[in-house]
Symmetry: C2
């Protein structure tokens, strides 16, 4: 497939991709768009010109929730309609410069209003690493881990779009050997390399999503950085789980890549042993081969790759996560976001957090500018990227980037 | 203060109370109202008649969020305007029967769209009881408990209004002595007696609410039943906290009692020792003396009181909860709900859950109909009530009630 729009060789936003997002010029009148090459297709302009199966009002909102709620038969149709318009020689869009805005001139917004946000913990390597460091190296995984996709509810209000600065959080930490906590800015600020999916179809209270129907309920995916303050987390998290160590901010990439665009990149996941309970059992390939990369850029220094991982490593897949989440009758809503948990690989260059890369702060990471890191310093910028490529088909996520500002007084 | 509206002796909804809620006739056109005696004052009718400081559109919505977001100077003014209209002899409402609907004819709805829901764990007696049962009787409280109000993020989508039936959840549980979990309907279904406050004023990411300003950010309170499946919870909750054991449903009372109506019932809380960090330190009386009661009604049997407790027992108060929640810069939004955690007293008749009342299922609770309980049976109805009374001033919460239906197939 080829488009008449210029798509640079290295672009994530090919004619195979066509992700949805919310954009504006200068923050005014946010509306729905689709990324192609270095451009944004303004879907409201296309709808007003009667080129799409959907009324303009669905694209003239500051979130995609109402559009997504129309359901996959409609949203997929719109994506294919735009694809056709971007491919055909006699496309009416060729004479409509008002239907395009260069990405470099646009402000990107959170693409959805997030109702509830759930964070899973589905990488075997990450859970094992954390268990070794925080608990018992001989019994790193807790007994439930291989029987269910462990997860917890996170804070939705503090999820922000790529480019938003992050203040270093303050909180209670327990100094080594002390019995009484002190109050201070976090000294062990970290990123977590994750991906998240966005729920596209609601369920009613009491209803469960069968594991083999789960993909019908997933609209698409984004990159997700689950910023974490390890010292705050360590002191607060027993017995009810992470709270302020995570809730100060999470960052997502602005473009939602549809599950349909990711279809060519399906692969089998790791073997699950012991066998899972029937409600979690699913045949076929349900992981996705998406190359992931994290760069760290100190102030006025070049970004440097500190991790290369892949979404295919996940032990629990998204279908299992969603089936598990709803097996108790918990309802889901359009716009709910469910993150994977840190995506670590086997190799120590594939660890998706500084906690693992610095092994709990015991190893320093050498940077090319001569500095070292164990955890994040003020003014460091972390950027996550994700790209799937196969047989000349390329579908990328763009990036999610965030800079650490000093703690507020 | 007296009103010309008939208020029965036992009514929670006196002229001192005037809580806000969302009601409808037959579920159609939900709108904002205020409870007085056995009536609902239709605030949209009053606004249309130019009797209130606010435009009708704020009362013609299915949630109170936009109204609450107007801020306390406005919302308090509206409450006092209605109070005056319900007291004065020559009130224009006396000739407006269309401004009233009997509560028995109304359907009550969720009063707010809940953005994020947080559940604290702020009763010393409850945390101690659970610690004794689940962990170590000699070290029941974990080291952080007296230094910070422990809390976790809960599921907002499954919060329902009083009267909604609750399906018994299914999930993974680990049979005693087994190493592998089984999938079944929960056998240890429980209620939790809690109260919750609703955030009335938003903050920005990076901002913290000072403990002595916290009451400006609290619009009002409701009764909260945090239904819990103890067997699911026990197997899943390490290391990231409660998830499916709680997320199948929580129930709230429909009327939001304002913090201003609760002002006469402020009392000092328990002494906090060790001393708390400065950001949690607050002088004066910040607990509330609210009598709480739980009844259990088996199918076709009378309700029976199984617990009497009081909100004043809380170790951590709401101002401290909100200050702690935001100390890391986590932003809050109008409509966020923050629950207290189970409110247990010292005496074993004041335990706010069946887990504690049956001491982990080891003691049976005798019912007057000859039956016994350790945990909830299908078709049991649990009702929580809360009333504050002092010097002839009475402010009640009404009730939150829910019936357990058998697990869905």
């Amino acid at each position: 497939m080829t488009t008449w729009v210029h798509v640079p060789q290295n672009s994530d936003f090919t004619i195979y991709n066509l992700p949805f997002g919310i954009f504006s010029a200068d923050g005014k009148n946010p509306r729905a768009g689709m990324a192609i090459g270095e451009q944004i297709v303004d879907l409201s302009v296309l709808a007003k010109a009667n080129l799409l199966a959907v009324e303009p009002r669905y694209f003239l909102q500051s979130t995609l929730n109402d559009f997504i709620a129309l359901g996959k038969p409609i949203t997929n149709k719109v994506r294919l309609e735009v694809q056709k318009l971007l491919m055909e020689e006699d496309s009416p869009l060729k004479s409509r410069p008002d239907a395009f805005m260069p990405q470099e001139k646009a402000t990107m917004h959170l693409p959805v209003q997030i109702g509830d946000y759930t964070d899973f913990y589905s990488s075997l390597e990450h859970a094992t690493n954390v268990g070794k460091m925080f608990r018992d190296p001989e019994n790193a995984l807790l007994p439930n881990w291989k029987h269910l996709p462990v997860g917890y509810h996170g804070r939705a209000s503090s999820i922000v779009v790529s480019g938003t600065d992050i203040y270093r959080p303050k909180g209670q930490v327990l100094p080594k050997g002390a019995e009484v906590p002190v109050f201070k800015p976090s000294g062990r600020l970290d990123f977590e390399l994750e991906m998240a999916f966005i729920v596209g179809k609601e369920t009613q209270l009491g209803e469960s999503i069968p594991v083999d129907k789960a993909s019908n309920y997933i609209f698409g995916m984004v990159l997700f950085n689950d910023w974490s303050a390890r010292d705050i987390q360590k002191w607060e998290y027993v017995p009810l789980g992470p709270f302020l160590g995570k809730s100060f901010a999470s960052s997502i990439s602005p473009w939602i890549v549809t599950l349909e665009a990711l279809e060519p990149f399906k692969v089998s996941g790791p073997e699950q042993d012991p066998e899972v309970l029937p409600y979690l059992k699913i045949e076929g390939a349900h992981n996705y081969d998406i190359d992931l990369e994290v760069t760290l850029a100190p102030e006025q220094s070049d970004p440097q790759t500190i991790c290369r991982s892949n979404f295919k490593y996940m032990y629990w897949n998204m279908a299992q996560q969603l089936a598990h989440h709803t097996i108790n009758g918990c309802n889901v809503k359009v716009g709910d976001m469910m993150a994977s948990g840190t995506i670590s690989g086997k190799d120590n260059t594939a660890y998706g957090s500084l906690l693992e890369l610095s092994w709990g702060g015991t190893k320093t990471i050498q940077l090319t500018n001569g500095q070292t890191r164990t955890f994040l310093e003020d003014n460091d910028t972390i950027t996550l990227r994700g790209v799937a490529e196969r047989d000349f088909i390329k579908v990328g996520f763009g990036e999610v980037s965030g800079k650490i500002l000093p703690a507020k007084n």
